[in-house]
Symmetry: C2
Subunit: 343 residues, 2 copies
């Protein structure tokens, strides 16, 4: 090995992933889609394919159990994987759950975690079919793999967006980030003075977005019923701006979105202002909303036009037109993908 | 949540897994086999099924990078999952790799780890199709999921062993444990006096068993060529005794094995003696050999009789006959499943 030392922070998470996988080529005929989408796609030898996605969650990096109750943590760990299955336009069927536990955790604590895992299995109709349980040196480690199913021609990738397609997002954005800031603030207040009771009542929507995200399988089923197959799709886990970059890169297109079309809940907006955060920055760069970002052909617009929970935030452009946000005052500002950097 | 606190150590790893999953029932038609075997089995809607297995490896619990070179670690992390696919009589096709990295790791270190992962993909003919990369608070975390394929009627479970079937193991056992003890001893010598060069030359076989295990896909392919479908099978990751318990429990049978039939390599034997370890205890309770334990019908015996690397160590009995080791002196000793306890 060379003596050279390059810090991972220099590359960032996406840079590191690109760097490690630059020479990876799939060889097996059943590997329909490898690295580079929300999930891998594996041929099943029938009209269906399997989609496979996995997430590794580490205490102190991805979650803080001082405000995240264990049942919520269990539910969320499953939901974030289901969200990736949804983003492929597939239906989740199985999960495996591996956990690493330090000796701080009692059997009762693990039961509380699994209460949430089982509740999520019930909610999403998936079976817990395997996993691994082991000791950990520091804190809780959760690694979940979700397996879903879709008809071969129903799978939606990130690379199918075309110029003039309409960019859609579900639900509202920024809430999970704002909720996290509130939980962090109240934790600091509590640490400074344990007599203080955290003031969380007026923030239940935003804290709920952080503590109890729900994968949008409802939208996947509705799109099917309405006869709409998105041209591209992914879930919003790292922030809208970052995901738009992923879709534009994979599809080789540009995008223009409009500030006044971005969906933000009133409580998210007000709380962001209270925290001295720019609400639009929260919408663009806040992670963990687990809503869906997708593109549709113009001809499908009438089918979704009146949907209460789908918002049309802009459109796809030619690659040379770049990625822009048009502000309320009409100025076009270049979008920067900030995303989450754990390193 | 109740105030009761039960330590996980009271249940042990297998006890905890049983406890958490006692009420888990699979509901989806595609979930052919859930928790309780080397891998889950998922219907693919064709003549083939998919098998899925996952392992979570945590630095300081499962491996020590002070004597485990990173490329070896990458290879081994893949191999242990391939071994579980092999144990289902399936052929591995895809893996996902998730890693958690503390800031002690440079890009070059991660490259060294992936060098081993890519080498294993090449060796086993599997595609790396996805994963997750994230920060970790302490050390390296590796979570790998392997996906394999088999014809529906070719899958071998743990629960098919019948009285009078012959118990077979591949390769030799105990080497990985003895190798680990040598590596630990030399590490302590080095820590006590960094001028000392570790004396490892005469132990290359046993240290190799620990550092470079190879999943026995060769045996899976040979069994197919010889027209032998084992009646039950699993891989030996926790020690022969523990695995015999698993097969006996799943198949509701007993087993008798013979000390003089247990395969042990000369270097493993000599090194165990040097370390004041009982070689037979190393064979019975040493983990991480990643050989295969399987049962065959008596009628298949002639097909395997002359195989150089398959050893016939005993036979399956009725459940009420229990689990016994017949020593060289002819005494029948009850087998205790020790296995590995990380908690």
């Amino acid at each position: 090995m060379s003596e050279k030392r390059t810090e991972i922070g220099n590359l960032g998470e996406f840079g590191l992933i690109d760097h490690l996988n630059k020479n990876v080529k799939v060889k097996n005929a059943t590997s329909v889609k490898g690295i580079g989408d929300d999930a891998a796609v594996i041929d099943a030898g029938s009209e269906n394919v399997k989609v496979v996605t996995t997430d590794l969650l580490i205490e102190g990096v991805h979650f803080d159990l001082s405000y995240m109750p264990l049942p919520h943590m269990g539910f969320k760990a499953v939901a974030v994987n289901i969200s990736d299955v949804a983003a492929m336009n597939a239906v989740p069927k199985q999960i495996t759950v591996s956990i690493g536990l330090s000796n701080r955790f009692s059997v009762e604590a693990v039961e509380a975690l699994y209460e949430g895992i089982h509740a999520a299995c019930e909610h999403y109709g998936v079976d817990l079919v395997g996993g691994d349980t082991t000791a950990s040196r520091s804190g809780l480690v959760i690694s979940i793999t979700a397996i879903g199913e879709a008809k071969k021609d129903e799978v939606v990738y990130r690379d199918g967006a075309k110029a003039n397609d309409i960019l859609c997002v579900t639900g509202d954005l920024g809430g999970a980030l704002v909720g996290l800031q509130i939980l962090e603030r109240e934790k600091q207040v509590f640490l400074a003075n344990p007599e203080m009771k955290p003031e969380l009542d007026k923030y239940t929507l935003v804290t709920g977005r952080q503590l109890r995200p729900d994968a949008r399988m409802d939208i996947i089923h509705e799109l099917k019923e309405l006869g709409v197959k998105p041209t591209s799709m992914m879930d919003i886990s790292d922030g809208l701006a970052s995901e738009i970059f992923h879709i534009c890169k994979a599809s080789n297109v540009g995008a223009t979105i409009y500030e006044d079309k971005l969906p933000i809940d009133k409580q998210t907006f007000d709380t962001a202002v209270e925290l001295n955060l720019d609400p639009i920055t929260c919408v663009l760069n806040g992670g963990e909303d687990y809503e869906l970002l997708f593109t549709i052909s113009q001809e499908d617009f009438p089918k979704l036009e009146k949907h209460a929970d789908i918002h049309f935030i802009g459109h796809i452009t030619k690659p040379e037109e770049g990625k822009y946000l048009v502000t309320k005052s009409g100025t076009a500002v270049q979008i920067k993908a900030q995303g989450w950097k754990h390193f």
